[in-house]
Amino acid sequence: MSAPPAAPAPPAASTEASSPPVASKSPALKAWATRAPLMPALVFLIVVTQLPFVATLVTSMFDWNSLRPDDRHFTGLSNYSTVLSNAEVRESVVTTAILTAVVVLVSILIGLLLALLLDRTFKGRGIVRTMLIAPFLIVPVAAALLWKHVLYNPEYGLFNGLINAAAGVVGIDDPVQPEWVTDMPLIAVQTALIWQWTPFMMLILLAGLQSRPGELIEAAKLDGASNWQIFRFLTLPHLRRYLELGALLGSIYIVQNFDAVFTITKGGLGTANLPYTIYETFYNAHEYGEASATGVVVVIGSIAIATFALRVVSSLFSEEVSR
């Protein structure tokens, strides 16, 4: 996205238009009166979300294990070298990247397909839409439990049950019964997450499809453009920013995923992502300093994504405002 975090034109309400003329008020006082409604939310947010990060930054420079509380001392950047040379942490960085990329890309692709199918009129469109949203409205932990115990379980899970039933129909006596979670742990976690996040992508892309300029497509059709040409040269460019938005918001949410990893694999079998590793380091290993240093590393990583994400949101936003 080339658009800078733009400053769109402010809404037309100007100060003098919306406030009764009070001659005695000084401009400074008036500015504060305008600012006042903003202050509670702003102060609250800074205190609750920004101060902890400052504290994390400070803690990350201390050698601090809660099991040895008297042995707390400043160590500068040594936690960072510990963390960055720790194979487990490096592995979880890679795991996080793979997990996020696969889930985001696959759910965008399926989401696009579903959005294209839903962006037409057919019988029961509302019902299909509702069915497609359902996975997103199951509490994430419940969804993870559902996949782990009800679908993946090798003995009585639905997947192996269906394989067994199908094998029975065609007359195979001893069908394969894979141990889904043990055999393919990362894919198991990814599949569960893709199932939950595809509806999210579909909703965003469907909104994008429905905001397409209809006249333009009609004109293209009259000029004899094929469906593929319309999709390739009109729909896709229009969807580009919606695809980016879906990818970036999806990344932000999935990078932080804790529920699925915690529930399905307990971080085992090479599925520990960064949030889970940090949780482990401080919850079970009590290494406060190292946990904080890992946290700071995660923050630096997400600032990169966040800057990009903010740009995309900003370009969509300025278009909305100027419309």
Binding site: A6, A7, A13, T34, A36, L38, P40, A41, L45, T49, Q50, L51, P52, A55, T56, T59, L117, R120, G124, I127, R129, M131, L132, I133, P135, I138, V139, P140, V141, A142, L145, L146, V150, L158, N160, G161, L162, A165, G168, G224, S226, L245, L249, Q256, F258, D259, F262, L274, Y279, F282, Y288, G295, V299, S302, A306, L310, V313, S314, F317, E320
Partner: protein
């Protein structure tokens, strides 16, 4: 679209439907069918969960699956404490308290803020708006430790009000963004007209702004509710026996040995029910909330 070229232009002619129309219809039907099949595939795990929740434990754990097993409410009875396990009501009450109270606080804080960012905007209001959003992009887990230590020092561990505060901060940026976009839709002319008629600010808020921005604010509330209800990491780390929320309670049910599928399905469905209700109620606004107001 080769059909476009081959189809004869027989507009108004009676008799058999032109080939072009027939092909288009067949194609439409096929695509509609594809949508249905995919929709059913996606909802199938949820349907299976619902069905399993009404089966007895032995029937829930058969291979191949028993589709037509007799239905029973045992799973739900078990979940609601008939089997001597922990009652789900304290965690459900905790989740309700955390979600409803934090949503309420979010609305109280976000409404004036959104007002100052749309109807009577402060200088550099877009920068402020983007600051709100940027807080949402920092991973929660990085602030977890200081919050935990702070809670430990102030005896706030295992206290539901700590979660209320944290969920408020978690949802505040989303709510400010959403409400800003709803309030920006209120035409300034109407507000000015009301002022000329001598209406004071409370009257304007209540009689002019609320009716226009009301539905959007209701959707904002529902989305904040859903996010708070679903939250698991904070609840897992910061609560224990007293302030345990429903998602944490759900994972703690799994530790026991023996068959538990029906019970887990019943519990999962029961705990997801408020979210399903809120989500379907806010279906149209869901996408706007999830995209932080960027998509309308």
């Amino acid at each position: 679209m080769a059909a476009t070229l081959t189809a004869p232009a027989k507009s108004g002619a009676k008799g058999p439907v032109p080939q072009l129309v027939r092909q288009a219809r067949r194609r439409n039907a096929a695509l509609g069918m594809a949508a249905w099949i995919l929709g059913i595939l996606f909802v199938l795990p949820v349907v299976w969960m619902a069905l399993t929740s009404f089966h007895s434990e032995p029937d829930a754990a058969t291979n191949p699956p028993s589709l037509t097993a007799p239905l029973t409410l045992d799973g739900y009875r078990e979940f609601f404490g008939a089997g001597g396990g922990n009652s789900p009501w304290p965690p459900l009450t905790n989740s309700m308290t955390a979600s409803v109270m934090s949503t309420l606080f979010v609305l109280i804080l976000a409404f004036p803020a959104a007002y100052a960012l749309s109807i009577r905007p402060v200088k550099k209001w877009t920068d402020v708006l983007f600051f709100f959003l940027s807080t949402k992009m920092l991973p929660v887990v990085a602030g977890l430790l200081p919050i935990y230590l702070f809670a430990k020092e102030t005896n706030m561990l295992d206290n539901i009000w700590l979660l209320v505060i944290l969920y408020t901060s978690m949802n505040l940026p989303i709510a400010v963004w959403m409400m800003q976009s709803f309030l920006a839709e209120v035409p300034v002319a109407i507000i000015e007209a009301a002022q000329i008629d001598g209406a004071k600010l409370p009257t304007i808020l209540l009689r002019v702004i609320a009716p226009i921005a009301g539905p959007g604010m209701a959707a904002t509330a529902l989305i904040c509710f859903i996010f708070s209800w679903n939250e698991m990491l904070f609840a897992q780390v910061l609560t224990g026996v007293v302030a345990q929320t429903a998602p944490v309670f759900l994972t703690s049910m799994i530790t026991s040995q023996g068959l538990f599928l029906a019970k887990v399905c019943a519990a999962s469905l029961a705990i997801s029910l408020p979210v399903l209700a809120a989500g379907f109620a806010a279906q149209d606004k869901l996408v706007q909330g999830l995209s932080l107001g960027a998509v309308k």
